[in-house]
Amino acid sequence: MADTPNTFDTIVLGGGPGGYVAAIRAAQLGMKTAVIEREHLGGICLNWGCIPTKALLRTSEVLHLMQNAAAFGLSAKEISFDAKKVVERSRKVAKQLSDGVGFLMRKHKITVIDGQGAITGPRKLGVTKNGKAVGEYQAKNVILATGARARSLPGLEPDGKLVWTYKEAMVPDAIPKSLLVIGSGAIGIEFASFYRDMGAAVTVVEVLDRILPIEDDEVSAFAQKQFEKQGMTIHVGTNVKALKKGKDNVTATLEKGGKSSEITVDRVILAVGIVGNVENIGLEKTKAKVERTHVVVDEWLQTGEPGLYAIGDLVGSPWLAHKAMHEGVICVEHIAGLNTAHPLEPKNVPGCTYCRPQVASIGLTEKAAKTAGHEVKVGRFPFIGNGKAIALGEPEGFVKTVFDAKTGELLGAHMIGAEVTELIQGFAIAKTLETTEQELMRTVFPHPTLSEMMHESVLAAYTGALHI
């Protein structure tokens, strides 16, 4: 392959968190690297996902605190907000980070190709912009990182006006008075929590028998109780049969156990999962296999086509930016033949939901552990027993740890409460290092911190918690 401006060692299709990280790692390893991005660097995560929602949720958290100022001995009057400015802040945060990715690309001398890319032949990509061909590129290795988009259900298609996806939900003109959230995974619950704290009457509908269905049963139950306490209406085991759009409202037909009911809301957010962006990228010209909207890859993220890799949401769950980033690094290091490259260990990928109270977990739930045949030892510790939690005014929540009774392997950790999304990495390190309960029990946790609850939870599973 001649070295021309259009030939690269590695081309990454898609500049989201998986793609741009893969590109940086490739550049670090000395590869001539390009990223093809059709919209904006940083992908959904930075522009329409993780980051701007965190900005919104910070706003709703501060609002919540202001409304409860008296509990801290403060007085705050005439508390109000300007939805436009709330969204503006969120957009500014997103833009700052997206620009930051542009800077990182320049810093690592990565060529950013603006346009829609697709495979045109073995190790070849064509790029179009607004329907016009703008370039042909060649690469020894191509990494597909085209991500995913919101799934829609027949009869419940979003229209962007009354029925939103995450994208519209992130930039509302005003906070709707009432809102129906369909789906109680991380995305649905984060919006439900944000809009509830911003004052909307929120109803959440979940088809499964509990909200946050991938979390531990106890976490789901606790979260539901908390949300209901906050004034949310939650229907589990419930289907949305139809959405009837009015002029400025929507009437939804809900069905639970054969019984139908109707609910009329200003807006609906559809958050029923995602589908991989497998179309229009030339996959049909390759030996890569697609199953249920996701590209099939091996542990090194290789597709069936030589030199073609796929990472991130495109290859399946968990649909998490940090998983995509790791996959980007793993596949590039594999391409480079690094000795230290190591496949991702799914059981060691933490998941976080930034609702109020926050939810974070890693590994197996208690039920999943038992189903997998483990005899388990379970420890729990509540926020109410932790000094820092009390001082913060956040006495709601708990930390639960699940161990294999025989080997002491930390099978899973499940937390709900303030700042648990910042705590979970402690268990992630523990799991990655394969610690047993002994090392965790011997680990010194600083006092007073919320992290002490992690320690106590482990003690509770074995020798007994000290502070409850």
Binding site: Q28, L29, G30, A336, G337, L338, N339, T340, H342, K406, T407, G408, E409, L433, E434, T435, T436, Q438, E439
Partner: protein
């Protein structure tokens, strides 16, 4: 300041040696490179060369002294300008029982500490692994496995995750037998589970006495004990040489720890004998059958690389070179000089090298590097008329090929019984490295080559 000369470690397995001969006397001038003494090790008699210049001040160990521990002082070398009075400053040797004369205040400047003069031999080739590819970005092969999943150097620390350690304990799995695939060769859960699943890993045996070489004294194989076991039959005694002890130790180790199995094949060497005669008659090139055997064994290893391998607790090591160790009988013992890269050498080269190595082996003049290592062994007892025999593997080799006599036997060729020259060959394989099929493929390949000797002439 006088320099202490220490008993050198002339081979990695050497722990003690015999001072066979002093080549210099006290008071002799010594230049770097001069042979000072001859040392008999467990393998051979080797020359001990001076590294520093000076005068041999004092001999601490008399000629003929045996069992001198490595690093024990054997002599003191005086540097230029120093006289015997400086000896008082020299560190006392445990052997030097006589008190030195009180030191006269010699005008000697305190000097830098004496360097240890014993040459440190490098590791034997067979154990050396290529250095890990440096840095990232290298299209590197997996790093050399660490023994025992990260037994770093001489340390006995095993790098293992807490969970993996507990799993191993529960399963009574010896972590030394587990290959670590985690960062820096750390043993992780997966490795222990794989080892348990594979069942190949060593379970921890009930504590037993570690193997000790038969030693003089009151052990179960002491002179007295064996004498009694033999019914007090009269005997003459031959003293144990270092080599004898090594042979004893290594062979016991091999037969008790290496799972041997044997494969035998007959080779028709009529064509080989013809070629050999032709070369002798027409080209005045005299080659032994063994020279052909070495070359054929080497070429066959290239074809079946799995047979050119050694077992380690971490991984099977496939050797990149074909280095054939050929057993040479000595008056009292044997030694295995090595034909390095035998696959790439022409027959006359192999022949000449083998002659030279054999001569020097019998004279005890082999260099360490000439008999240590190797990747495969050959033992040929054909000259004694042995039809066929099973040899003991020479660890860490994966195989040893035992060659019997080429003898005339009735053979069936094209449906007729005719007289053919047949050579019986038996391959002993370490089953941990070489499975039956691999060994069989190797022998078949060897047979094919040795029966078509023109291949050996390319």
């Amino acid at each position: 300041m006088p320099i202490e000369l220490l008993m050198p470690a002339l081979s990695p397995t050497m722990t003690e040696g015999k001072l066979a001969k002093w080549s210099k006397k006290e008071g002799d001038k010594v230049k770097a490179g001069d042979v000072i003494a001859e040392i008999e090790t467990d393998k051979a008699t080797m020359e001990f060369e001076a590294v520093d210049e000076g005068t041999l001040g004092k001999i601490l160990v008399p000629e003929g002294a045996e069992n001198i521990a490595v690093n024990q002082p054997i002599a003191i070398l005086l540097e230029e300008g120093e006289d015997k009075s400086a000896l008082a400053n020299a560190p006392k040797s445990p052997m030097a029982k006589k008190a030195e004369a009180p030191a006269a205040k010699a005008d000697v400047k305190p000097a830098v500490p004496a360097p240890v003069t014993a040459p440190t031999p490098s590791k034997p080739a067979a154990y050396s692994v290529p250095p890990p590819q440096a840095g990232e970005g290298a299209k590197a092969s997996p790093p050399p496995p660490r023994s025992g999943g990260g037994l770093g150097g001489d340390s006995s620390r095993i790098f293992v995750s807490p969970l993996a350690r507990r799993l191993a304990e529960q399963a009574k799995l010896d972590l030394h037998s587990v290959t670590g695939t985690g960062p820096h060769g750390r043993i992780v859960q997966h490795d222990v589970e794989t080892a348990l699943k594979g069942g190949g890993a060593k379970r921890v045996a009930a504590p037993s006495a570690p193997f000790t070489p038969p030693a003089a004294g009151g052990g179960p194989l002491s002179k007295a004990a064996v004498y009694a076991l033999a019914g007090n039959t009269p005997f003459t005694e031959i003293s144990m040489t270092g080599m004898r002890r090594t042979v004893a130790k290594r062979m016991v180790e091999s037969k008790t720890t290496v799972p041997h199995f044997y494969l035998t094949i007959d080779c028709d060497i009529d064509p080989l004998m013809r070629v050999r005669t032709e070369l002798a008659d027409a080209a005045s090139t005299k080659l032994s059958v063994n020279d052909f055997v070495i070359k054929a064994a080497a070429l066959a290893l290239r074809k079946i690389p799995r047979a050119n391998a050694s077992y380690s607790d971490d991984a099977i090591l496939l050797w990149s070179e074909v280095n054939i160790a050929v057993a040479v009988a000595l008056d009292d013992g044997l030694i295995t000089p090595i034909i390095k890269n035998a696959d790439t050498k022409r027959l006359p080269e192999i022949s000449a090298e083998m002659k030279d190595l054999g001569l020097r082996a019998r004279a005890g003049k082999l260099k360490l590097t000439e008999f240590q290592g190797g990747t495969f062994s050959i033992s040929n007892l054909g000259m004694y008329g042995i039809k066929d025999f099973a040899a003991v593997i020479n660890p860490p080799h994966g195989c040893i090929l035992a060659i019997g006599a080429g003898e005339q036997r009735p053979v069936v060729k094209n449906g007729q019984i005719v007289v053919g020259t047949v050579m019986g060959c038996t391959l002993a394989c370490d089953h941990r490295v070489v499975d039956g099929a691999v060994g069989a493929q190797y022998l078949a390949e060897f047979k094919k080559i040795i029966e078509h000797p023109s291949v050996l002439l390319i």
